[in-house]
């Protein structure tokens, strides 16, 4: 498992704590204290929590010893580009669904809470991370089977 595969696995596992921890806090605040901006807190918590996660590889790269071996090459870059492209396609589909589903549910003259908007952004972040991690793992699984040298 190289560093890119490890990052992709992290990307698949990351949304779980991203969703559960700030989500749990937001739901607690919303139901216990009755604060209406709980989804905004949830989004802020997610960004903070996710930011700390993404700092980890950067910090390890700064603190750890410089590696002599090549760990990222043209194939990794190609896989990363394809994964990001796939994630953007999924993100677009997600936002189309996020816009159309409330319209289908409440009808053309209905109304929805503005709390849906930060939640939609949060969902987009999670969907993007999931899709990118999955696309990366699928590509490495197809073309990066380990062999014996």
């Amino acid at each position: 498992m190289n560093s890119q595969t490890r990052d992709a696995c992290l990307g698949l596992l990351l949304p779980v704590p991203l969703l559960l921890i700030p989500g749990g806090v937001a739901v607690f605040i919303a139901y216990d204290k009755g604060i209406s901006f709980a989804p905004l807190l949830m989004f802020a918590g997610t960004v903070t929590w996710g930011g700390l996660f993404w700092l980890a590889p950067f910090m390890s790269g700064k603190i750890g010893k410089p590696k002599k071996k090549v760990s990222f090459d043209e194939r990794d870059l190609l896989i990363h580009k394809r994964a990001v492209m796939a994630a953007y396609v999924v993100l677009w589909l997600y936002f189309v669904a996020a816009c159309m589903i409330p319209w289908c549910i409440v009808g053309p003259h209905g109304s929805v809470s503005v709390n849906i908007m930060p939640l939609a952004l949060l969902g987009g972040l999670i969907v993007f991370t999931l899709a990118q991690g999955l696309a990366t793992l699928v590509q490495y699984g197809r073309g990066g089977n380990d062999g014996q040298g």
Binding site: N2, R75, G147, G149
Partner: protein, 97 residues
């Protein structure tokens, strides 16, 4: 759409060069071992600079490492590919015929 196939002789060349390991070749070419594995298995077509670096690691011409087969056809005895467009003389290319 025509299916193009790029075959390579990396495995044979590695063993011809003192049983060079994939890691040693990767270090010489400046890529990861996973990339060498993928190229050797025919799952990844390298860029032109990387193909030249791999050929340089074996000190052989590029065509000794990689062979292009158009439409999945095997190469002919004279070294020509199965694609007639690629077998035209250079003068024909210049004329645009």
């Amino acid at each position: 759409m025509a299916k193009d196939d790029i075959q390579n002789q990396i495995r044979r060349l590695r063993f011809d060069h003192g049983e060079m390991t994939q890691q040693q070749l990767a270090d010489k070419a400046g890529v990861t071992r996973q990339t060498i594995i993928a190229i050797e298995a025919g799952k990844y077509a390298p860029s032109l600079p990387l193909a030249f670096r791999i050929a340089a690691a074996f000190s052989v011409p590029l065509e000794d490492v990689f062979q292009y087969h158009a439409n999945g056809q095997p190469p002919k005895a004279d070294g020509k590919t199965g694609d007639p467009k690629l077998n035209r003389p250079a003068s024909a290319h210049k004329r645009g015929t």
